[in-house]
Symmetry: D2
Subunit: 211 residues, 4 copies
């Protein structure tokens, strides 16, 4: 059911409520609150939001190299992919733009990226429909990478995706000496030992650091 | 700080993120997720949302009698205020449209409404800036009410608002024999005695019902 | 599986942990924390707790009239049941001692009590095994009650129990003119209209109060 | 205020409630529920619990080498400290017994332990009153350790404690070539990149692992 079809006969308030319900994490009650909130805003506010809705995709491109969203760029490729200051021998594969942003915010990584566009559920039969596999192949072929870092979430689906991508790359590029790595496991900030699972403790011990 | 000023120099993604941050209950992270969600939608989706943003206020009026939002009406007054089937001698005063909706959904009230537009914080110095006091006066003068029901939340600010409005009405209409009532207190659905405060228990006992 | 059997061969720490796991609301981790906490206490602390475990039931009686726990009393009946200052024509029926305590804490009720000892699940086939039905009959026969107040939780099981007890009393005492009432429904402290169900709103309107 | 003093004049139910309130994570309401729960148990249950309260400390010793609680042992030292199968050149320092248990449960560590007995709050003036410093000195002097692993929680107080203990050991044993390490930081099980702080991401990148 798409919102376009189901909301045909509805009044604008109900229609907009239906649209907001599709937003990530928004239930019917909060969707309705959004609409009432908008009704109390001045018309200039609503007009500006409408303008932004119409313009974000015009100003936004998907980089044809790393497939992240970016803006204000010329050409087909984002500034990071073409930045001579970034290490073009390191490719980090992430699931989504929000992960890319979290990595960039840490200011610790200086290589380039590839956005998979999703994760692969365990037992999924058609992984090529969940993530950008062909685009990844092309990216790796075009690049001159020495290391690929799989930066996926440390949960079941993230690990499954990392395993799948690792096997896929190894199969497609068997003799390249390409190093593939995953993010280190250990204690994340705030972790208490008492509540940690055995895997986390094992990894924290294995990755222990001289001080 | 209005969003219009602070977002002047920003790119559309950041601007729209700032706008979503002003939505009720939305933090910076979810605001950003909203924008990324929109970027993955087809252009037709964004265009339809923009159209709704521009049209909701055109289709929506504020009733000049009860001050609730309504749509598709002719004239200045909403269908409920002019409905001969509603009891025009009963006026229910609520804080916001969402409260009006909750009451209507219960299908138990058949009088008319007045939307205050907010609540009055305790110790507030300028209540007339928080709620529609003059409009309320005019509404009561124009009507022929026998009873006014103050339907405010059963919390400190709601009770303060009810007390204030009651005193205000009594002062302005001293000799009218107008009955003013508040919603009954007692056990709301799901309440367990063990976790109830003494006020709730007192009221539940006082309002006990023969069965 | 009783704890006595399953913990036969265990060491004292594991045994005590098992016992704490049976406490209401306590999981395995917190049960273990309790034991470690006790290990760090001085021996005098543990001895005092052990003494209290042995003595609470010796000092505690179950009132043979209202069936609540009480202490330091002579005879078989609790001070409330024999208090000439309490209204002996009003009987409040509650589910458990914690409910009795919540009522007493409100300092609004001056009649006497009867503790059912539980609630009756919906569709339960043997209600007489869940609550003290025979004892209730005897209590009502012995008393000279004008009113019986059913103070059960405002949830499905509480309402079912109230309905059952009402029907049971009406069947057993058909011609006594005994008034049976339930606690009043309405807004409990803290309730917001926006999040209230229609039943709560109906009852709050029905029980509205002149101010 | 010790519970012994404050509960002198109280009845046993209130006394026991006060004792349960001192249990970790237990508020007044749950403490009271515990007591009512106990009142409904058979006497045999209460007697067995009392017996366990009296016996846990008799059966439990504090190891004079690692200071963990243990049971059923002869002598003054726990089985782990004297186990020839454990690596006696590795000493892991943990805060509490629950941390020791979490490590043992992971079945990855084969050295020996030292229980600090607590953590050192930031800005604390008397760390020697919070953790076993003298006992730690003696333990390290007696042992023949090559590595000391500081296994503290990955939060501010845990990190402060680790820093303090590291400095303390380095000062007291300046020329021993003793390796001191802390648990590795990175993604703990379940961590999502989007919600990770920059420190966690940095460490996860630094500790990345070839696959």
């Amino acid at each position: 059911m798409t919102s376009e079809n189901s909301t045909k006969a509805m009044d604008p308030i109900s229609k907009l409520t239906e649209y907001f319900r599709e937003f990530p994490g928004i239930g019917p009650r909060q969707a309705r609150r959004f609409v009432y909130f908008l009704l109390t805003r001045p018309s200039s506010y609503l007009e500006e939001m409408a303008r932004l809705f119409l313009s974000i995709k015009q100003n936004i491109k998907i980089c044809q190299s790393c497939f992240r969203f970016y803006q204000n760029g010329n050409g087909l490729v984002c500034p990071i992919c073409t930045d001579p200051g970034r290490d073009q021998s390191q490719l980090m594969i992430v699931s989504r733009d929000v992960d890319f942003e979290a990595i960039e915010k840490s200011k610790f990584y200086s290589g380039v990226y590839f956005i998979l566009g999703g994760t692969i559920p365990i037992l999924d039969k058609e992984p090529e429909k969940k993530v950008r596999l062909n685009e990844l192949l092309i990216r790796i072929k075009k690049g001159q990478f020495k290391e690929i870092i799989l930066s996926l979430n440390a949960n079941a689906e993230g690990e499954h995706t990392a395993d799948f991508i690792r096997d896929y790359i190894k199969e497609k590029f068997p003799d390249t000496g390409l190093s593939i790595s995953i993010l280190g496991r250990g204690l994340s900030t705030g972790t208490e030992l008492e509540y940690s699972d055995s895997d986390t403790i094992k990894n924290a011990l294995k990755n222990r650091e001289r001080v």
